[in-house]
């Protein structure tokens, strides 16, 4: 499996919508464990008041990411393959939830 970053800009009107989407994402992800693994996401505060995400996934192919997104009804703006990781310090503790 390769690592990918998935950009989902302005994906949801509210944080609650996003939470609902995250639940669907987990359910669908568990149904295709050989093809996608959700690693982590950063939630974006979009200028128009909506919410977006940058997600890190491991996946067998870009098509697997799209199949997962389609099944969980998540938007996909762009999929970029990760060539390497530079870890400086651990992610900060999430502000909420």
């Amino acid at each position: 499996m390769d690592t990918y970053v998935i950009v989902r800009r302005n994906g949801w009107r509210t944080g609650a919508d996003l939470e609902e989407a995250a639940r669907r994402s987990t359910v669908e992800g568990e149904r295709m464990p050989d093809d996608v693994a959700w690693i982590r996401s950063y939630v974006l505060e979009e200028r128009d008041g909506s919410v977006g995400t940058i997600c890190v996934y491991q996946a067998s192919s870009p098509e697997a990411i799209r199949a997962h997104a389609e099944a969980a009804r998540l938007p996909v703006d762009e999929i970029v393959k990760v060539a390497g990781t530079v870890l400086v310090r651990p992610d900060p503790v999430p502000a909420t939830g």
Partner: protein, 880 residues
């Protein structure tokens, strides 16, 4: 199931009449019983019982068969370790045991599908356990037949039990293909491991023997243990062989003679054969049976185990062994039914070192094997005959190398096929037979093309015609013309392809050579199609198809379907291409033909018609399998285009591999596709220099061959890079209109061909704002991010307000089903089963299972019926 979990063993009947104690095979038997229960419930299964030689596979299956007699009919078939096994051997056995003659008339490979369908019916007519023993020795036709049955067993109340020695089945073993082809829901794998120390002690004590060192020596191999326990004497034999020999030591001369003779006969030795060779041997045979060394079966006597036969055979010594083989050979030769004994005759002839008999029987056995599709065995038999044919005259040898070249080509041994054709050419020259020389030269083109050695293929084709045109025209010249047409078609020299094809056609008609006529019609038709003359091309191809169907020429039928499918695909005639692809998949599916190349075309057609998910999924399915290079190239182009058009990563990798694979042939039909896709990907990635270089790399060749579509697309990319010097007026219409600046006309032309992406791309090139806004919508709908982004940029620069791209929520239906799930739901509602849906959508069973369970979950349904009812209630399937 692991080795540890299931130890067990039935102590063999070395004392006739004693019921053997059943030890430690409970789990294996339970697994078989469970599989049989599924089969009895109408869902057939394949149980694979495997382990090393002597581990007790047969014993377990016999015990299971005994226990099942009340509930199911049990049929037995066996594969034997002959030099080359009997073609279809185990399947004949099964049919014979069922009292059926369905397989008896298999004389030709084309009859096979109907016969296999009858065999499946036979297995399903009543609850049945069909056993095929020792599949590691099976011939190619039997393996093909087992694969055919395994793929369809789910529909019938039959449990197919296949046993094999897993330690003799390496990665390259032909049985692997069968094992890989069994649908995962159907297969039950039952591995048999060695006995435990405790079980070995128990057996020793039951036999009243000392168990010291027995487990360590035998490593728990049940056959070894039994032999040691059955042998007289007190020492512990060092090997299985020693144990068998120790057991045979006490036999009298007569019995030993029977055992020695039986050891040269793999499988069962008939009583009449023993009597014929040894005089009245019944007495000795009975002693062997009483001692448990030989076991009576339906056709005669057999060793209790192949390991025992090998031990006795090795102990014979080379001279006695050859003498016994000779005696058996002479007896079999004198039989009135010797034509049905050809594999055995070849086996004993070889083992007796009788060159004359090898050259007499091996080619006959080979021809019989090849006729029913056991090409691998046929090749081995021809190789054998050739090894012994040094003394034979050139006239005998030339026929052998020709036959060998044919089967070597069919089994993918291209170098051997080339070498054999060259020898045949040389021998024909020596014999002063230019007709034969010419035909061999013509047929030499095929393996050369297969090996990517185009220049040598051209040379052979030229020589064939040069040699044959010196002589009065006949069948051989028709063949040479047809192969010349084939070469010209491959090079996309279409006018020449038609001209040579016409010559082949008229001559083949004159001499009444149907096979060559079907080939000629195919080449003429394909060349027309490639020239853009679609209607006459299809007409010729359909004539070729009808002729091949009428005469049962399966390879020609497949070729006609294949050319209609891929040729029309290459010409952007996607409606018709798709129809022929589906016809071919049906025809090939029924016959288990390799359909990967045509399936790769379906992936490509999906992509060009805007069904990107389906195209990419199918392409990946093919790429994950063992498809050949041509199928891989087409699948990689389809996948590369989708990724490039979506802006997804991985387009470059796919198209790099496609280019690598198309270099050896160097033909336009591959390079045109691959380089056009590479130009598109580079352009979408913003690399104009590379886009230009890719397009220019194949453009001159496309112009030279007047390929409407490749020339069109390659010109188009140069034009998009602003660097097109010139393009001819004959390129395909949509591209011609685009290059002339008629974007809206081009968009209409693309719409006619059913290409939504190309249509949107043309609209985007228009000056008309309405059209360009429509293009944005269409590109968003397709998920064509890079082009949509670019177009939005242009429009914003013109201060046009552009709507945002769609979010998935706008595409929602009440239940949140995806487009693909709706498609599957419609088929579920029609009552199709998952396997049928997989066939229809040309995706894997696993994918369909996945979709169906997602549908049930999203609709909150427990059954397919409930899902269909819920779909109707929500109106999900309306407006589809």
């Amino acid at each position: 199931m692991g080795r540890n979990g299931q130890r067990g063993f039935v102590a063999q009947s070395h004392m006739v009449g004693t019921a053997p104690p059943l030890l430690e095979r409970e789990e294996a038997l339970a697994a078989l019983t469970e599989a049989l229960a599924s089969a009895l419930g109408g869902e057939g299964r394949v149980a694979l019982v495997y382990g090393e030689a002597g581990i007790g596979k047969t014993t377990v299956v016999r015990a299971f068969a005994r226990a099942s007699r009340g509930t199911a009919r049990v049929l037995w078939g066996a594969c034997d370790p002959l030099f080359t096994p009997r073609p279809f051997g185990p399947l004949y056995d099964l049919a014979r045991e069922a009292g059926s003659t369905v397989l008896l008339e298999v004389e030709r490979e084309d009859d096979r599908t109907a016969q296999l369908a009858s065999l499946l019916d036979l297995l399903g007519e009543t609850p049945t356990v069909g056993v095929v023993e020792d599949a590691h020795w099976a011939d190619e036709a039997s393996l093909d037949a087992l694969r055919y049955l395994a793929r369809r067993i789910e529909r019938v109340p039959c449990l197919l039990v296949v046993t094999y020695r897993d330690d003799e089945v390496g990665a390259e073993h032909p049985l692997r293909l069968l094992l890989g082809a069994i649908p995962s829901g159907v297969a039950r794998r039952i591995e048999l491991g060695p006995l435990s120390d405790r079980a070995v002690r128990e057996l020793a004590s039951a036999a009243g023997r000392d168990a010291t060192g027995l487990y360590e020596r035998t490593r728990g191999n049940p056959f070894y243990v039994t032999e040691v326990l059955a042998a007289s004497g007190s020492g512990l034999p060092a090997t299985v062989r020693d144990a068998v020999l120790a057991r045979a030591l006490g036999l009298g001369n007569e019995a030993r003679a029977v055992l020695d003779l039986a050891s040269v006969v793999p499988g069962q030795v008939e009583r009449w054969l023993l009597d014929e060779v040894l005089g009245s041997a019944s007495a000795g045979a009975n002693v062997c049976v009483e001692r448990g060394m030989l076991v009576p079966g339906p056709g005669g006597l057999a060793f209790r185990h192949e390991l025992a036969r090998q031990a006795i055979l090795e102990a014979l010594g080379p001279e006695r062994r050859a003498a016994n083989h000779r005696a058996v050979l002479h007896t079999l030769e004198a039989r009135p039914d010797r034509d049905s004994l050809l594999p055995r005759l070849a086996h004993h002839a070889e083992a007796a070192g009788d060159a004359g008999a090898v050259v007499r029987y091996a080619p006959l056995a080979a021809a019989r094997a090849a006729a029913v599709g056991s090409h691998r065995e046929a090749a081995a038999l021809y190789e054998l005959a050739l090894r012994y044919a040094d003394e034979a005259g050139d006239d005998v040898r030339v026929a052998l190398v020709e036959a060998y070249a044919h089967v070597a080509h069919l089994t993918g041994r291209l170098d051997e096929a080339i070498a054999a054709r060259r020898e045949a050419i040389e021998l024909s020259r020596r014999l002063g037979d230019p007709l034969r020389e010419g035909e061999n030269l013509a047929r030499l083109t095929m393996p050369f093309i297969g090996a990517g050695r185009n220049a040598e293929a051209e040379e052979a084709g030229r020589q064939a015609i040069a040699v044959l045109e010196e002589l009065p025209p006949g069948r051989e010249l028709a063949v040479a013309y047809a192969f010349q047409a084939y070469l010209r078609m491959l090079s996309r020299d279409n006018a020449d392809g038609v001209a040579w094809g016409e010559r082949a056609r008229s001559l083949a008609e004159e001499v009444g050579d149907v096979d060559t006529l079907a080939m000629a019609l195919n080449m003429i038709g394909t060349s027309h199609v490639m020239a853009g003359e679609i209607e006459p091309g299809c007409e010729y191809l359909e004539r070729s198809l009808a002729l091949a169907l009428e005469h049962g020429l399966t390879p020609r039928v497949a070729s006609a379907y294949g050319m209609l499918a891929s040729g029309l695909g290459e010409m952007y005639e996607f409606d018709r291409a798709e129809r022929w692809i589906r016809e071919y998949l049906r025809f090939g599916g029924e016959r288990d033909l390799d359909v990967s190349y045509i399936t790769s075309w379906l992936a490509a057609v999906h992509v060009y018609r805007g069904r990107w998910d389906e195209g990419a999924e199918l392409a990946q399915q093919l790429l994950a399998g063992d498809a050949g290079p041509l199928a891989r190239i087409t699948a990689l182009v389809a996948l590369g285009r989708v990724r490039a058009r979506r802006g997804d990563p991985g387009a470059e990798e796919a198209l790099d591999e496609a280019l690598e694979l198309s270099r050896p042939g160097g033909h336009l039909q591959r390079l045109g596709h691959v380089l056009a896709a590479r130009a598109e990907a580079a352009w979408l990635a913003g690399d104009r220099e590379r886009a230009l270089a890719e397009a220019r790399a194949a453009y001159p060749l496309a112009l030279e061959k007047r390929h409407l579509w490749f020339a069109g697309e390659l010109a188009y990319w140069q034009w998009r890079c602003g660097r097109l010097e010139s393009a001819p007026g004959w390129i395909a219409e949509p591209y011609r209109l685009q290059l002339a600046g008629d974007a809206l006309g081009a968009a209409r032309a693309w719409a006619t061909r059913g290409c939504p992406y190309e249509r949107a791309r043309a609209l985007a090139e228009s000056e008309n704002t309405e059209a360009r806004l429509e293009a944005v919508g269409a590109l968003d709908e397709l998920g064509a991010a890079p082009l949509a982004r670019q177009l939005r940029g242009h429009l914003r620069a013109l201060r046009v307000r552009v709507p945002r791209g769609p979010r998935p929520s706008t595409r929602d239906n009440a239940a949140g089903l995806t487009r693909r799930e709706l498609e599957v739901l419609a088929l579920v509602a029609e009552g199709l089963r998952n396997a049928e849906i997989a066939d229809w959508l040309v995706v894997s069973r696993r994918t369909v299972d996945h979709h169906v369970s997602a549908i049930l979950r999203k609709l909150g349904a427990h059954t397919r019926g409930e899902a269909a009812a819920e779909a109707a209630r929500l109106g999900l399937l309306e407006n589809r």
